[in-house]
Amino acid sequence: MIVIGGGHAGVEAAEASSRFGVKTLLITHDKSKIGEMSCNPAIGGIGKSHLAKEVDALGGLMARATDKAGIHYRVLNSTKGQAVRATRVQTDRELYKSAIQNFLSSSVNLTITEDSVVDLDIENSTIKSVTTEKGEKIFSNSVILTTGTFLGGVMHTGLKQSSGGRIGDPSSDKLAQKLRGLNLKVGRLKTGTPPRLNKHTIDWSLLSPQPGDTPTPLLSYTSQASERPEQLNCYMTRTNKTTHQVILNHLDESPMYSGVIEGVGPRYCPSIEDKVMRFSERDSHQIFAEPEGLNSDLIYPNGISTSLPLRAQKELIKSIKGFENAKIVRPGYAIEYDFFDPTGLKHSLETKTISGLFFAGQINGTTGYEEAAAQGIMAGINASLKATNQETFELQRDEAYIGVLIDDLVSLGTKEPYRMFTSRAEYRLILREDNADMRLTEKGRKLGIVSDLLWQKYKEKKDTTTHEILRLKKDKLKPNTPEAKKIKEQTGEDISNNTSLFEMLKRPKVLHSHLPQGKTTLASNAVDEIEASVKYEGYIKRQQIDIERLQRNENTPIPEHIDYKKVVGLSNEVKQKLSEARPVSLARASRLPGVTPAAISLLMIYLKKERQAVG
């Protein structure tokens, strides 16, 4: 197995296949950059922490490395219910990188080499070997490409351009050229980053501090609080009218607005130029001053990503409260890069056209470390399964955000850098931070990639929650007892008849902590899981009915070489869509845009006819 690229997708892919027991080679142009966070120094956030926890539940690295590097933890949406609560962690870049590198160095089946891949050898639509810059030809029939923004990367600062995938790192132009020559659809995307500031030149007294949460949570199911480094505050400031005027004055030097950039940027992470132009009625936008690490002098001013020329960036920074004398250590820039239309992939992340070649991460049009890691681990698992002649491992939309991510990408493609949001998941109430282990760890264990420690923790949690639910169902609360009075005091909830604790917990205002406790103390993630599964019970049952209905179509396979032209009654448009997408099941066909229920019926009839003709 060869993994090309040492970013967040690459390391998860390499580690997963190594845990799986496949001899793995990770090729990267600079070993010291393995696990680098090239954008903001934070892991998690809404939808993203869900992905990170799912990767963790499958035995992945991201959450464990985060806990060794986390310097500021917050639970977002903590006033809302469990399904939408999300942990976000500011991390020390150096600690994160070294945690990842340490994990890899103790990985048994993994070799890391410093080189660049310049050519892929493909015969009969099957990957055979890769050729490196140093002239080595390495044979393998499983190759995972995780080259991020390095393919055809162009950085813009003002109207100046330079080639590269990240400041100070070269882009992979030769490989990009090679890939462009293959029969894969290429698109161009854009993303940006803000200027980095020197910590000592900011007047912190003018910024408002944002402390992290206490008690401080952990991201991984297996981390210990003692692994966490010292905790720091984050700070906030805002742009103002002067800032916005500076931007307007320099707009003609913005590569975005002067038409130099052709790639499409994300709608949810706009540059400050975009924010000012699109929301002209706002005269202020917030900026989060995030420390890059415990010992780092750098501050990441989150919220002002820009590609204006350095002169303008200096003026812009100076206009902001607290940043009046701040020094820019590294200017902000926009980066354009190639991505491959992910509809060219199977759900296993193997390319449809080249057997044994897998793509994971930003190369598929996603953005974010967590999205990359999620694809990385899945590509690693599937490439290993393929190498050992086993069936693919796929997660459904009702099983994991990973399933939503991959299904969205592969079925629908993307027009902008794809980021996870909880609103993308129709089964949001089922896919929670608190139960990623309940959803996935058993599957991971079966694959052989879950450590004994995680397995042990999982079994303990499962045992305690099962027992606790039984206790809640069995134990009754009687009216006019001290316990009932206590609940009335705390929540205002009356009870008139003997009521099981389980029924009490269904009431929105009643939390587990309000109830009489059992003998065993529960871990907080076990309590979360119990509360969520009790409170959402009715909704989850309803969703389960949907899921079962879908399942039947999920289980109706469409043969790989079906000729849609032969399906009677389908419109030409639908025929073309299906021929391009080549969905593997009826359910996946039905999720394609423009494929009507009538078209699905016609397909069902055709499949039935074919089966009868054969049988």
Partner: protein, 438 residues
Amino acid sequence: MSTNRTIIAPATVPGRGGVSIIRMSGDLSKSIAEDMCGELAEAWRFKRCSIKSRNGSKIDDGMVVFFKSPNSYTGDDVVEFHCHGNPTIVNLVLEEAVNRGAVVAEPGEFTKTAFLNEKIDLVQAESVADLINAQSEMAVVAANSSLSGQFSEQINRLLDGIVKARVVVEASIDFPEDEIDSSILESIKEELQGFLAETNELLSCVKEGVKLRDGFSVAIVGPPNAGKSSLLNLLAREDLAITSEVPGTTRDLVKTSVNIGGALIEFVDTAGLRSDPDGPIEEEGIQRSKEVIKKSNLSLLVQDATDIKEFDLGLGDSFTVLNKSDLLEGGFSNSDNTFYLSCSTGQGVDELLGALIVRLGMGGGEETVFLSRQRHEISLKSGGRFLEEALMSLGEGQVLELVAESLRSAHAALGDILRPMSADDLLGEIFSEFCIGK
């Protein structure tokens, strides 16, 4: 082979007829039917029964028969209700079954199920495919003709409102750190109450059959005493339809709205015409008839079969109705546009009505205005239920993700009527509405 869906639809063309058959297929068929009609006879035997609604009131006296899987039309368990040929009754039977867990069948779904269960020959696969296509097209036509501009507008407005509310709720969930203008969130309770009221209003509109379409308009013209009024009375018979008398715009016009097969048809009865007008009044009568004809979808020229007159009315799409056929000696037969009937014996009225239904695009298969109306009604009902649920979650201390879940379901249900929406569209709305992202 069993399916999860239990489907139901009328098996006979709606409109008038002695008997209507409603067919239900799927696992729940038997239990639903027993709940509505009491214990069924053994399989393949008819049983006389009273079909009852949930609150116990009688809908109709009829017959019910159970076909046990696999020996049935579809191969699944099938129940057929045979009831009186009255659209209102058919509608009620459908509604009761739906309330108990059946769903209104998709276009061609019965035939499809039969094929998948190998009840229909492999050779017929292509014709089944054709049927599904044809029925789907018909369903679109029927759905369009069941929606008046006003009704669509109201649904669109309601959907716009729900989308706006969803945008704010979803944005507050996915972007808690961004500065979302949450003023809508504060007034969301009133917003939702408004949506619920609107949904309920639309529901009652659908039930009453008003506003769904301004109605098809059919002009009845012809000489005096040819039987125009008798024909109208016959068409408007109580067991056929709900009718309402509206005074004409002038004292010479009588408009009668008749609900046939779920669609509203307005019959406009004009004053009698004389073939050779010899006075100013007749001249004006001709003029007025021509105007009515112009505004109508179809005209019925009613003549006395024993005394046919010549008219130059510029009739567009029209049927010639030859009344008093009972007085004719010798044979006669209908052609495409000519119908013999007798208003005094009622003979031949069914044929005319059948032709009317087909001509106005209201029938000719399983897919009718009636069925699409049923689907609208069901969508509105579940939409309303989810809105109520959202309000309940709000009342219980703003469990926002549950409000979001109920609103998603409400949007899905109501969106079925006009325009479904994907998750990414919603995100698009969020990003255009709010400045998101650090």
